[in-house]
Symmetry: C2
């Protein structure tokens, strides 16, 4: 659903948009309800629309070939969670766990293994209870949210301050103990879990807000703050986070920044590279970089904070962030529109951007194949899911979906949905169970196609372990080489989140 400020203006826009697209809509008339409600309105199309989005979806799904819609809840919530969870709380999806053997990577022999002396040291600096060796807790921390990647770490550390993070890393670096920084562990590319026996450092206990300035809207907080909690804190101050995503109840702001999370408000508030004003990070050798500025403008030397944004913990651990937050909007409006084809979606996007300007917060879309996997059916039928997070020029986005459908025929369901306003497609391919033949049909085709159209093979999920070796599809050899040089400069022993982001062959 689109979110915009209620006004006569948006009402007029809606009416006009409906009319201009009307020729392409089939089988129903438009209906706009409560256009002036101060609590926000759901614009519904169709004679028999129910009062909620969910029922509208159900009613529309058989009628229209495509749906261009604006979702208040992130589609990750709607699709991914529903695909994963049965009513009794168990999972029905066929998960494929890639252990170390499946990654085709050998453990780096230069890394040490843990000794009782190491445990003793960590207990000394962190206190007994923050040095976790309990098998159940470790099992959770070793496994990613999709249960696709699983490590075998024997140690989880929970520092409570930047100084403790610094002491941990300094020690690990001197001992050559590899480290995985972990936040909410909600990533989708295997970036936040160990590959082998890396020490897990989870900053979730560092979850204090440090300051908030109501004049500037600048929030300073520790990296372990959960995104949703920050949103609640800000709501009381009359502000919102510029970032929202499906995992907000678990993900931590440090992880969001480390992975340069995109999400649902990207159209309106832009990239974290624009809204993060400062951060504090700890390098592999324990050096604390205080870049925790709270200024909108600061041109004093190289802006190094950007190196840590999107580097997925491979250059250091982010411990604090400073972020510019926008004022809370007086009202939120949601609209669900049905379009006959992808071209109409593009036309609507252009019209919405041109006419609504920055008032447009999100422009999301689902195709009818995604609709067919609505919640109930997904629960009943869901099998294996191959997930791709692509950026493409908007006019190209749906071509890959259709080409993939032709390519795979009846062997798989191909779903296209995503943040159309950002040019971000989530291509999901569903099969009854994991199948190497299907996978071989998908990869490397999907990456080659994306590269050929100057797209990105990871729009917002990052590379992690899953796509570290595929970086060349989106980045030139010279650029990758410079990344490798910077990695070696900041982390000469390679202890920070090893085997991730960059091809391991270039680092060893």
């Amino acid at each position: 659903m689109e979110i915009w400020r209620i006004s006569l203006f948006s009402h007029h826009f809606m009416k006009r948009s409906c009319r201009s697209l009307f020729g392409r809509l089939s089988g129903f008339e438009s209906e706009i309800s409560n256009p002036r409600s101060s609590l926000g309105s759901i614009y519904k199309f169709g004679n028999s629309c129910g009062p909620s989005t969910k029922s509208s979806l159900e009613l529309h799904q058989k009628k229209y070939t495509q749906l261009c819609c604006f979702l208040l809840r992130d589609h990750h919530n709607i699709l991914q969670s529903s695909l994963a969870m049965r009513p009794d709380g168990t999972y029905r999806i066929h998960y494929r766990s890639f252990g170390s053997e499946a990654t085709k990577i050998q453990r780096n022999p230069s890394f040490s293994t843990l000794t009782p002396d190491d445990i003793f040291y960590f207990k000394e600096i962190l206190g007994e209870k923050n040095v976790i060796q309990d098998p159940d807790t470790l099992s959770t921390a070793n496994t990613d949210w999709m249960r696709k990647y699983r490590g075998s770490s024997q140690l989880l550390l929970q520092p409570r301050s930047t100084e403790q993070v610094s002491l941990i890393l300094k020690y690990c670096n001197s001992r050559r103990l590899a480290v995985v920084p972990q936040g909410g562990n909600t990533g989708l590319v295997g970036g936040s879990v160990p590959v082998f026996d890396e020490v897990i450092v989870n900053v979730g206990s560092m979850n204090n807000t440090i300051s908030f300035d109501k004049v500037s809207g600048i929030l300073v907080c520790e990296a372990g703050c959960i995104l949703e909690n920050l949103g609640s804190f800000l709501a009381n101050q009359g502000f919102i986070m510029p970032l929202d995503l499906g995992a907000k109840g678990s993900c931590q702001i440090g992880g969001n920044v480390s992975t340069n999370a995109g999400g649902l408000r990207f159209v309106r508030y832009g990239s974290l590279h624009g809204t993060i004003l400062g951060l504090e990070a700890v390098l592999a050798n324990g050096t604390v970089l205080d870049m925790l500025g709270t200024l909108r403008k600061d041109n004093t030397g190289y802006d190094l904070k950007h190196l840590f944004m999107g580097s997925e913990g491979s250059l250091g651990i982010i411990t604090k962030v400073s972020i510019l937050t926008p004022p809370k909007l007086p009202s939120v409006n949601l609209a669900l529109l049905a379009c006959e084809d992808y071209f109409s979606c593009q036309e609507l996007l252009q019209e919405a951007k041109r006419t609504l300007g920055e008032v447009l917060s999100a422009f999301e879309f689902l195709d009818n194949h995604s609709m067919d996997m609505g919640i109930t059916e997904a629960l009943a039928k869901a099998g294996a899911v191959y997930k791709y997070d692509l950026s493409l020029p908007v006019e190209q986005i749906y071509n890959i979906v259709e080409e993939m459908r032709l390519r795979l025929g009846q062997s798989a369901k191909v779903l296209g949905y995503g943040h159309l306003g950002d040019g971000n497609l989530h291509l999901n391919i569903s099969t009854p169970e994991y199948n190497d033949a299907v996978l071989a049909q998908i990869e490397p085709f999907v990456y080659e196609w994306t590269s050929k159209h100057r797209g990105s093979i990871s729009a917002e999920h990052g590379l992690g372990l899953m796509k570290a070796n595929e970086i060349h599809y989106s980045k030139s050899p010279e650029t990758v080489q410079l990344m490798v040089s910077i990695k070696k400069l900041l982390d000469p022993n390679g202890i920070m989140n090893p085997y991730k982001v960059l091809p391991y062959s270039l680092l060893s």
Copy 2:
């Protein structure tokens, strides 16, 4: 002047703001003219307001202690140009030219000097006419816009392609010939002119637009495009540049990005770190980094383009950029408001941000001392000007102006104006002529004060030669050390824009 979309909403806001601030306004009643004009309105306050901003300024200047105003023309245009130029086109300001002797820096003895063979090589790759040795042209290129810094380069090169830039740098690196990248040469900190005999590489001939996508608003162009020309090009397409500044008629987009220019639309469209989507840059050794993505989201490895933004040409030369441009607004509204004190300015800013949201494009302010230096008086009396470009928490901004006034007494005029919406103060101190005793009163006090309040000693102008040694006032030693390491990694011979940005002592 503030720029916002004409609507009943903004009209209501204006009326309300006027009322809420009315108690603080003295001596006149409010008057709002043409609030619904489709061409935009100037909101004027005072019974005898004339039709233009200029006359309003003149009428108001004696009455109010401070003026909180929204300027359509950048204050740089209004103040700096007027201070610099007499009606007959000559300059009256006392300029102080810092040659190499005044910088207290010795020429790096490891750099070579030009030979006839070098000239021969450059003519071979660039063609005769793009290798400039003409003394008049060189004199202009050696001197900065403020005529404060002057180098002694004997050679200006004008490449016409990325390949030529690459060949130039590869050659200079192998010969250890130092290089100054130059765009429109409109910088204010001595960053764009040689200190000694560095070869000047001006990319102004690389001024083609490469592509523009009307769906996404993404423009790709060469680095030498003049900002104003890009604006004109986009206007025909229904878009605008997200960046505007007083020097737009001369400055080039490559220079804007290299210096991370801020300017007039920053409140609304944010930092270039958010709007620049990609760039191409050439390293000192001639390596071309193709990072010219045209995607809003791309999380594939370290986002290295940010290293080149704001590094003032010291890490490489930017040759192409890709930038997200916003739609042209259907109307522009301007308002000029008078406030009794700085606190009222802050209150108005908060109200404007809260109520107008992203519709607010700029929030500029001038104090009455700046008003007293309006154009006419400035032309008659202008002498030497000490210019400081500071970022500070909004509530602190005016304290430094007042403290400086107390400190300098009658020996100087202290003016405060700037981009209040960004927390960016331009502190200008005017004396009849340059005076070392006054300078000693100002520096390092102004830097120490700024540092103490966690401000930035360069909000948007950069460090250049002027403030390279002052970086520690805004950045921690560990952060500066990492900058030095990165400089050495990318430019081991130190040929790129030497003596600038970072303390020379740390690089040698």
